[in-house]
Amino acid sequence: MSSLHLELKNMIIDVLDLEDIAPADIIDAEALFGDGLGLDSIDALELGLALQKRYGIKLNADSEDTRKHFASVNALVDLVSSQRI
């Protein structure tokens, strides 16, 4: 697990106030929404806000594109590393 993976997992747990879940319980490639971690549409809104606040990521493109980056921790890592200076 890379440092950014851990950082983002901690962010997810912290921002969404998830109970009984440790970073190691979140599988890098597993779906965050629906079947995997089971996050919902309100969580998606919260995560978007947290990414803007913490990493200055601008989610101003079409959601069909940006939401691909929300599919898994791996996808989030790609998004943050591509936009972080």
Partner: protein
């Protein structure tokens, strides 16, 4: 803040005729700035009429379609073919199964929906429904737990459209944007039917995500925003959003109570009024208010709605939005604020909860849980912390206890949640669970809210047990973490009230915790823990401190070395030793 739109607009009783026979090149919808005219809508309406009329079936049809333009065409086609459109709130498998027991066919985003194929060819008849025709059924959670279908006659919808247009007519130069679905009565009226009846275009796409709202809003000079507290509470307060918000002439909020704070913050920041609508699927719109800085704003009945309260403060109403002229009891308690000044809402009297705007019968959720083999008895409740969430207290069956031992609690709960997900939308699924030997009945044999909430008490305050990880860099067997110690950390309790300091044992525990996270693979190869060596606590760690944690793993020697420090000061350090195989 006052609402400055004085012009009133009268919607004719036969507004639907106008939707079909009005000017052909009138813009009825927009797709991110691209216009869709009435003739395009009517082409789709005729197409769907032909499909529907060639399909030999009864009068009830299911309709679920996230595309507002196609949805409108399909809805109108059902009406012009003499059908009733059943509008479920989602297209989950259980919803589909329940729907298929009632309807003869489904349109839209479903498996097995009626689509093009050989249909859609013939010349359909287009006959306008009578005012008393049952045109839609909306679905909602009933207090008994069973989903409830609520029929609406065209007359009821027309009365409601007329009332809204009288209070707040849409303006000819604006576009109607929405963050809420049209599968519920609020979205159906405000996002689809009002724009059609008032001749104002609606945006085809739903703006659930903030980035959609951002780019879609930018396409239009002026717009009205149909929204809900879930979105309004999360609007970014940044300069670029403030610029964007100037394009919103007015915002509507419904589906759940909007907090006074959120309303005032957004009205001030974006400079537009937020009109809150109070109503329900059963009653349609009941009352409205715009929050004011001076004091909590009261609710005012909508035009044509008559209200009273019984001796228990229960709300009763007569309204043209209801199916008949009798008094209807709404399970909300209200408090009148004197002659002509409206009322305050005090809360519901049944077990229907609102979770981020989604209505949920807690009874239904308990019934669903109780029907599972693992569950002896379940009780569901609502917690309001950072967001509204459902919590469940469970008494396991014997089988459930065996499963818990075999699979672990995590997997057991995951299975229960998956079972619920077939029937309930993700937003209302329980996020917190407590497994108890026996539910906390009191001596009168009652489960009190107090006793149930006490089981979740430590989550309500959400005391962290770990520092915040600001940054984490791992290179091979070395890691450097930037940490921030929270003020409200669990471990400051009783460790000393006057001058809290971080206990050494916690520092050691954190070092090992982060080492496992950072060096997951290598850590697994280490032998048994032997002991701690060279432990030094040089400086005290206090609340709010920011510091570095350096970790170094030497698997061949069986060492894990840690050091907490700032750029200039070492705080503590030590070494874990493990058996080397």
């Amino acid at each position: 803040m006052t609402d400055n739109f004085a012009t009133t607009l009268k919607i004719a009783d036969d507004w639907l005729a106008g939707v079909i026979h009005g000017e052909q090149d009138r813009i009825v919808a927009v797709d991110r700035g691209q216009v869709l005219r009435r003739e395009q809508l009517l082409t789709r309406v005729r197409y769907w009429c032909a499909c529907i009329q060639q399909h030999d079936s009864g009068s009830l049809w299911g309709l679920y379609n996230p595309d507002a333009f196609e949805f409108s065409a399909q809805l109108l086609a059902l009406w012009l073919s003499g059908k009733t459109a059943c509008l479920p709130g989602d297209n989950l498998p259980e919803t589909r199964a329940a729907l298929l027991e009632r309807v003869s066919a489904v349109l839209g985003d479903w498996e097995g929906a009626v689509t093009d194929s050989a249909n859609g060819q013939g010349v359909p008849s287009l006959s306008l429904p009578a005012a008393d025709a049952l045109v839609v059924e909306v679905y909602t959670s009933g207090s008994t737990g069973a989903p409830k279908a609520i029929g609406k006659k065209l007359r009821q919808l027309t009365a409601e459209l007329q009332a809204h247009a009288q209070h707040w007519p849409y303006q000819p130069d604006e576009v109607v944007l929405s963050t809420v679905s049209h599968q519920h009565i609020y979205g159906l009226l405000f996002r689809i039917l009002r724009p059609l009846a008032e001749g104002v275009p609606f945006e085809r796409r739903l703006c659930h995500y903030l980035e959609d709202l951002y780019i879609t809003s930018q396409c239009y000079g002026q717009s009205t925003l149909i929204s809900s507290p879930s979105h309004l509470e999360r609007l970014p307060q940044t300069p670029e959003w403030q610029m964007l918000g100037r394009r919103w002439q007015r915002v509507f909020s419904s589906a759940a109570p909007l907090s006074r704070q959120t309303s005032l913050r957004n009205q001030t920041f974006f400079g537009m009024p937020i009109v809150e609508i109070y109503g329900s699927s059963e009653t349609g719109g009941i009352a409205w208010r715009i929050q004011r800085p001076e004091q909590e704003a009261c609710w005012t009945p909508l035009a044509g709605v008559t209200l009273r309260s019984d001796q228990n403060q229960l709300l009763e109403l007569r309204s043209p939005h209801l199916p008949d002229t009798g008094w209807y009891t709404q399970p909300d308690r209200i408090e009148w604020q004197g002659e002509g000044s409206g009322f305050l809402l005090l809360g519901r009297t049944d077990r229907i909860a609102k979770i981020e705007g989604k209505r949920l019968s807690l009874t239904a959720m308990e019934q669903a849980l109780n029907s599972l083999g693992e569950v002896e008895k379940a009780h569901a409740l609502v917690l309001s912390g950072r967001r509204d969430e459902v919590a469940v207290v469970l008494q396991l069956s014997r089988w459930g206890q065996q499963q818990r031992q075999a699979l672990g609690q995590h997997e057991l709960l995951r299975g229960l949640k998956a079972a619920l997900a077939r029937q309930f939308e993700a937003v209302v699924l329980p996020r917190r669970w407590r497994i108890v030997e026996v539910l906390p009945w009191n001596s009168q044999g009652k489960l009190t809210q107090q006793a149930l909430q006490a089981l979740f008490a430590h989550t309500a305050t959400a005391r962290p047990a770990l520092p915040l990880t600001i940054q984490c860099d791992v290179t091979g067997n070395e890691a450097c973490l930037q940490l921030q110690i929270p003020d409200e950390l669990l471990y400051f309790d009783g460790h000393f009230d006057q001058a809290p300091i971080l206990p050494g044992v916690v520092q050691v525990h954190w070092a090992q915790y982060f080492a496992k996270e950072c060096f997951a693979e290598q850590f697994g190869t280490l032998g048994a823990f032997v002991g701690l060596e060279r432990v030094k606590f040089q400086q005290l760690l206090r609340p709010s401190m920011a510091l570095e944690l350096l970790l170094q793993l030497e698997p061949d020697k069986g060492y894990l070395t840690f050091q907490y420090r700032t750029a200039t000061v070492p705080f503590s350090s030590g070494r874990f030793r493990y058996v080397v195989e």
